[in-house]
């Protein structure tokens, strides 16, 4: 029971964190109508996960051989793009409201991108969702009836992850807007870097990119299979045995997106936006 608890907690917590952050973000900027999109996106992701979990079992031949992998790959890269976009937008918004007495939402701008919020929720849930559905299914179909105790553990793991997301949501409410934005932007950036490198790794595993040996191995320190390793993998993309393309993708993402998010651009723009008089 404990083992399955950990597995589903690990699979679900990444989605829970992302959802918690975005709920908190929508709440903070007052985009209450965005909450609906987020919830719908999440629910659709859940439905799609169940559908995929069932669907995979009916596939066969070449469709089964590569179909699910390709879908996973598309979802991973879509999630990278969406999260990056979201981080960028949050950063823009943070600059916009800097110095304003009342941080009221710019409704027009917000409503333009609410569907993106829905998409983020969808990809976050769907990415590990199908796997979690299959995992739970595997438990239930276990012979000998030992499966139900494990199923309780598995479901408890998902509930635990949801509680974690809720905690993030509550915590996010307490932070100041500035701090909330900077903390979550960094978090989303690392998440995006980890996802990108994971996608590259998957492409290597699928033979779409040439396979290469790991450049180092820190399994002795922190293995991917351990609980801490698993959580760090979800949070910041930790890998005990990364390949060179994975490392390069990770670093390139952090550098490029980090510059995009944190380095002020053209001096003229700074002049306008700079709160130097305050």
């Amino acid at each position: 029971m404990g083992a399955t608890f950990i597995v589903t907690l690990r699979e679900a917590f990444e989605a829970a964190l992302v959802l918690g952050i975005i709920y908190s973000y929508l709440e903070k900027v007052g985009a209450h109508d965005g909450v609906r999109y987020l919830t719908r996106g999440g629910l659709l992701g859940l439905l799609a996960s169940v559908a995929m979990g069932i669907g995979v079992s009916y596939l066969s031949g070449p469709l089964l051989d590569i179909g699910p992998d390709l879908i996973t790959l598309v979802v991973i890269f879509a999630a990278v793009g969406l999260l990056t976009w979201h981080a960028w937008w949050m950063q823009q918004y943070a600059r916009l409201i800097k110095g304003q007495v009342q941080h009221r939402i710019d409704e027009a701008r917000a409503s333009n991108r609410l569907w993106v919020v829905g998409l983020i929720a969808f990809t976050s849930v769907f990415r590990e969702g199908a796997e979690t559905v299959l995992f739970l299914w595997g438990i239930v179909s276990e012979e000998g009836g030992a499966g139900w105790g494990s199923l309780v553990g598995g479901v408890a793991g998902i509930v635990g992850a949801a509680a974690l997301g809720w905690t993030v949501f509550r915590g996010g409410q307490r932070l100041s807007l500035q701090r909330f934005f900077s903390v979550t932007t960094v978090f989303i950036m690392l998440l995006g870097a980890g996802l990108l490198s994971r996608g590259i790794g998957r492409m290597q595993g699928m033979g779409l990119l040439p396979f290469s040996e790991p450049v180092w191995n820190t399994s002795w320190l922190l293995s991917d299979g351990s609980i801490a390793g698993g959580f760090l993998s979800g949070l910041v993309g930790y890998r005990a045995q990364p390949t060179l393309p994975e490392v390069v993708a990770y670093l390139a993402y952090v550098v490029v997106v980090g510059m995009l998010l944190f380095v002020r651009r053209a001096p003229a723009a700074v002049g306008v936006a700079s709160p130097s008089r305050s």
Partner: protein, 111 residues
């Protein structure tokens, strides 16, 4: 018309190439039964790509999880999946069935 013929030739060559590539890759069987991999030591030739033909004889799905090369592959209950593997350097490549990682442990040994 000429273009059409050229396209057909290219297509035929592509299909032929894929066929040759598929035919050239040795098939290595792997079975999952009672949440265990059989055999639990899979010997393959180093330096040549191969195809793992994985059959899941259990009632539940399983996911083959390997760290290097990075592979996560679901094998639904009662199904057979053909998994293309890259050429491996001589060495040991452990993997687990993620849904039953206590029992479903095995290693590919490339020699």
């Amino acid at each position: 018309m000429k273009r059409y013929v050229a396209l057909m030739i290219v297509l035929a060559m592509a299909v032929g190439l894929v066929g040759v590539a598929a035919a050239a890759d040795a098939e290595v069987p792997l079975v999952l039964e009672k949440n265990r991999w059989q055999p639990d030591v899979v010997k393959v030739k180093a330096g040549v790509p191969f195809v793992l033909v994985i059959t899941n004889k259990d009632k539940g799905p399983e996911e083959l999880d390997m760290l290097s090369p990075r592979i996560e592959k679901v094998i639904p209950a009662g199904k057979t999946v053909r998994l293309k593997m890259p050429a491996l350097k001589p060495g040991k490549y452990p993997f687990v069935g993620e849904y039953h990682s206590e029992t479903a442990k095995a290693t590919i040994v490339a020699e």
